[in-house]
């Protein structure tokens, strides 16, 4: 594991608790380190400081010293150095720690400031929590319980603002709920680099809007919904669908590309309602692409495969085809490391040639890399391939044409899409493992329905060679079987030795086969993933360009 860089530490005192924090830390983060929450709205750890909500006001003090001699001034009563408290409250978000700094986050003045800001934020805020999607994960609600007055002193008319503004195809705005924290504006400027949001009008009538003729339509627009501390920005997809407190959260990994964006899958009673990013400062910060959020829809897609006969029959039919010899195995960069390991094992038992379908495309420089396979590195680690794959299966096509391959086992890959012609598909017997119907499943002699990434657990290795695990969020579709089980059953059916299908068992053999995994087990993979030693593949050229937290290794100078 890569050690965090050594940083200079600064000792500060938060509510009397002494703590050494890295230089440059702000007071909100420093307080977090001692377990104290400083409430805030506009501050976001991954955006620039705006300092506009004034919720994080704290008291700040510095040890007193004599101006001339710099000698500390002691308090005879306590025997400690006197603290010079600044009479005005300061915002914690834009205050960086300095040695010896004292902070009060719980004093009467701080409490009064928070109550004042809360009252101000609520006077023009609609009382529509019962129909607001943010309810249950709303900062305003949360902090109203801590710092709200409980009754209103405001008897005037509330401001009236637009209630339903369509900012873009995926984002709706309720301006009355907006607390004008400017997080969404800063996100668009600083992260999405698509400066389309701004405030018009002024004072309490300030209104968030898109620039004339523009739309919030970039592929990161839904992050504004995530970071909106209130219910002003809502997702048109999730809006009015489900109360958040009914939803189960499952940690997952976005399979969209080799970035390996960390996600949370929100589900209830076997249905997924939304996918949001999960913070990982080494991978995706707190962001994710809109396109990755829509992937859950494939779970309920009309073209999900259902079994044509009983599972043992399917396995037996598949195994009998595979036993005929001259097999080619087309593995997948979308399979988990565990599945790839089992695939490689099966291929080895069958003495089959192995292929992988590459998905090289254009990266967006942020959280979608050029390699749209989430787990190409896993295929390298498990020995399914030895170098990054091409998008088209030209070698397999040639082998089929030459008559060297009679049977093809495809792990979820559509061979037609990967460049095989209908004639070539017709020349071979196909065993297809997959979740959705396509040209290959249609041409296959045996089709075994398997699960989507949301219905199973496993791990991916992203472009940084970081192994990250995902867990099954919902039960698998009726009749579909976990890929690991299918692969293991096929392995035993062709006469191989079972490697087990539960993760712990597979991992025992997997770790033993790949020395760089050491004594790692599935359970031991940290939530933030674990960087693996990639030196064995450092001579390879990968398609990825620069993305957030990833810089490709500089190209080797060719002699």
């Amino acid at each position: 594991m890569i050690q965090p860089a050594q940083t200079d530490l600064v000792t500060v005192f938060i509510d009397g608790k002494e703590i050494a924090v890295p230089k440059g830390t702000n007071v909100i983060e420093a307080a977090r380190m001692v377990g104290t929450d400083v409430p805030h709205y506009c501050y976001h750890p991954k955006l620039t400081i705006a300092g506009n909500c004034r919720m994080c006001l704290i008291e700040l003090g510095m040890p007193m010293a004599d101006r001339a001699t710099r000698e500390p001034i002691m308090d005879p009563e306590t025997g400690k150095q006197k603290i010079n408290w600044i009479p005005r409250p300061q915002i914690a978000c834009s205050t960086t720690v300095v040695p010896g700094m004292h902070v009060k986050t719980q004093s009467p003045m701080v409490k009064e400031c928070r109550e004042g800001v809360m009252e101000f934020l609520l006077i023009n805020h609609p009382l529509d929590c019962p129909i607001c999607d943010q309810a249950g994960e709303c900062k305003l609600q949360e902090q109203a319980t801590g710092y709200g007055r409980g009754y209103s002193r405001f008897i005037e008319q509330k401001n009236v603002k637009p209630k339903r503004t369509k900012l873009g195809p995926r984002v709706m705005l309720d301006d009355e709920r907006c607390v004008l924290c400017s997080r969404c504006i800063r996100f668009c400027q600083e992260v999405a680099k698509d400066d389309v949001l701004g405030f018009v009008d002024r004072g309490s009538y300030s209104t968030l809007t898109c620039y004339p003729g523009k739309e919030l339509e970039n592929n990161y627009s839904l992050n504004t919904v995530d970071i909106c501390p209130v219910g002003a920005l809502t997702s048109t997809d999730f809006r009015f669908k489900m109360r958040v407190w009914f939803l189960k959260q499952t940690k997952s990994i976005c399979p969209e590309s080799s970035v390996g964006t960390n996600t949370v899958v929100w589900s209830r009673e076997g249905a997924i309602y939304r996918i949001t990013p999960r913070r990982n400062d080494e991978v995706n910060d707190t962001w994710m692409a809109d396109s990755g959020r829509a992937l859950y829809k494939e779970v309920q897609a009309d073209n999900r495969l259902t079994p044509t006969s009983e599972f043992p029959t399917l396995i037996a039919a598949g195994a009998s085809l595979l036993n005929d010899g001259s097999v080619a195995v087309v593995g997948s960069g979308r399979s988990s490391v565990e599945e790839q390991f089992l695939t490689a094992k099966l291929a080895s038992k069958l003495a089959a040639s192995t292929y992988l379908v590459g998905r090289s495309g254009a990266g967006d420089g942020l959280l979608i890399s050029a390699d749209r396979n989430p787990n190409t590195r896993g295929a390298l680690l498990t020995g399914l391939i030895t170098e990054p794959p091409a998008n088209e299966l030209t070698a397999l096509a040639a082998a089929i044409d030459a008559g060297d391959v009679k049977v093809v086992l495809s792990i979820g890959e559509d061979l037609a899409a990967a460049g095989l012609s209908a004639e070539q598909l017709a020349k071979v017997e196909i065993v297809y493992l997959g979740s959705h119907a396509n040209a290959t499943s249609a041409a296959a002699k045996v089709t075994i329905p398997t699960l989507t990434v949301f219905e199973k657990s496993g791990s991916f290795i992203n472009q940084q060679f970081r192994i990250q695990k995902f867990a099954s969020a919902i039960p698998g579709l009726k009749g579909a079987t976990d890929d690991r089980v299918v692969l293991d059953q096929l392995l035993t059916a062709v006469g191989g030795e079972s490697a087990g299908s539960d993760l712990a068992t597979v991992w025992r053999e997997l770790a033993a086969s790949a020395p760089i995994l050491g004594d790692l087990t599935y359970a031991k993979i940290p939530a933030a993933g674990l960087l693996l030693d990639d030196s064995a593949w450092s001579q390879l050229t990968f398609p990825e360009g620069e993305t957030l937290h990833y810089k490709p290794a500089p190209a080797e100078a060719t002699a």
Binding site: G51, R54, F120, E156, Q157, R202, G203, S204, Y205
Partner: protein, 449 residues
């Protein structure tokens, strides 16, 4: 004691018969002599002279000009900018516009001298959008000065070059706040910046060290160099040096502008002797001494302030000398010098409703307390005037004001809460009985707002 004579330095030629705003007239009266001499001196000597003079900013805060200049980061390697704050927007203030309209070269000379003193290569005059004529006059005057070699390349034949651009604001009070002004000058919404880290002296215009000075302040710089800091120090009182221009408006016989040495006249002298006292048959009720955001003073109240020697003295409003420190000691401020006078015909609830309407309209809306609080106070006071007033409304407004002051990004928080705090503190009874007062008033009385 009768008022002393006016001491006109900045306004020496304002409204003078035959004085025009062209360069020929200015030079005939000794104009640009100071600049010609200054460019032969060392910049740091000029800065020392200004520091020594004790000049305090005339824009409102009364901060030491020399000290402000000393904060400038001169080692960053970035250019240093000077911005002239001509966004004169504080209600009751109308001094800078006279300088700009009638004596623009005085400002240009003061600006150029200050630029030279601070190694500035580019200066901007940020003039409020409502001064189109002023902007035209300044443009013409700068061109005249450029043609004469006082602005632009190789000033006065030396190798020092510095140009001035006039930038017209788009009309918002907050553009006068120095960091808001800088944002506006950069082409953005004039949202004031958070300090720290954006102190103009370090991270100002285009993230470069920047000096923002008021029009009148820069004119004073010219006169300090002309007469020397020692001579300038003799004007006014210690720590309150030089002259001040008072813009008297409201219910007095002779409103207008008057220039006096700081602390030389008292409020009573200014209003009674100089401005001719209250209107026929009226009595003074209250005065706001430094622009509408300054705390109001009620005639009849007294203040006990400490002398230098530790003794105390009791002052009536009429006895307060008009200088920064005395006004601060009496709980208000010298501010921008806008003296707003109200007599006994004014209802304080209605006057406050007017002020609250102004500040809620001008709040930029960036930070919560000011954005929500200023409009809340406006809604309360305007409901009191136009609808039903409750006896507790005054106290409620003060409580709102207390939740704003000291908790905002910029000083607008204080500007919008001080009027409410002081009006209710000093005229609390009027707020309690406003409903009855309104009903009992003559039917033909004018309604404000």
């Amino acid at each position: 004691m009768p008022a002393p004579a006016e001491r006109r330095i900045i306004f020496k030629h304002i409204d003078e018969e035959g004085y025009s705003n062209d360069i020929a007239c200015y030079q005939k009266h000794g104009g640009y002599d100071v600049l010609q001499k200054a460019v032969t001196e060392k910049p740091e000597d000029i800065r020392d002279e200004v520091k020594k003079s004790g000049l305090r900013g005339r824009g409102g805060a009364g901060f030491s000009c020399g000290l402000k200049w000393s904060f400038v980061d001169r080692k960053s390697g970035k250019p240093i900018y000077l911005v002239v704050n001509a966004d004169e927007s504080e209600p009751g203030t109308f001094k800078d516009r006279y300088i700009i309209h009638q004596d623009p070269h005085q400002l240009i000379e003061g600006t150029m001298v200050s630029c030279f003193a601070n190694d500035v290569k580019q200066a901007y005059i940020y003039i409020r959008g409502e001064f189109p004529e002023g902007a035209r006059i300044l443009e013409r005057a700068i061109q005249e000065a450029r043609d004469a070699g006082f602005v632009g390349k190789n000033i006065c034949g030396t190798d020092y070059s510095c140009d001035i651009f006039v930038h017209r604001g788009a009309g918002a009070y907050i553009c006068g706040e120095e960091t808001g002004l800088i944002e506006s000058l950069e082409g953005k919404r004039a949202n004031p910046r958070i300090k720290p880290p954006y102190f103009p002296a370090v991270l100002g215009l285009y993230q470069c060290p920047t000096i923002v000075n008021n029009v009148e302040t820069l004119c004073h710089v010219k006169h300090i160099l002309e007469m020397g800091a020692d001579e300038y120090l003799k004007i006014g009182t210690p720590n309150n040096t030089g002259t001040r221009i008072f813009c008297v408006s409201g219910q007095v016989q002779k409103p207008g502008y008057y220039e006096y040495a700081c602390g030389e006249v008292t409020i009573g002298q200014l209003l009674n002797d100089v401005c001719g006292g209250p209107l026929e048959g009226r009595q003074f009720k209250a005065v706001i001494p430094g622009g509408s955001s300054a705390k109001i003073l009620r005639f009849g109240e007294t203040f006990t302030i400490k002398n230098k020697d530790g003794t105390e003295k009791t002052l009536a409003v009429e006895d307060i000398p008009l200088d920064f420190d005395s006004l601060a000691a009496c709980g208000t401020m010298g501010g921008s010098g806008g003296v707003i006078v109200m007599d006994d015909s004014v209802n304080m609830v209605e006057a406050l409703a007017n002020i609250n309407a102004f500040y809620s309209h001008e709040s930029c809306g960036q930070c919560t307390p000011c954005r929500e609080g200023s409009l809340w106070m406006k809604k309360i006071s305007s409901r009191m005037v136009h609808g039903e007033a409750r006896p507790e409304d005054g106290e409620l407004m003060v409580s709102v004001a207390n939740q704003i002051a000291g908790r905002t990004i910029c000083a607008f928080g204080e500007a919008c809460s001080w009027p409410t705090q002081s009006f209710v503190a000093k005229f609390g009874d009027e707020f309690k009985t406003y409903n009855e007062d309104k009903k009992s008033r003559a039917a033909d009385s004018l309604e404000l707002v």
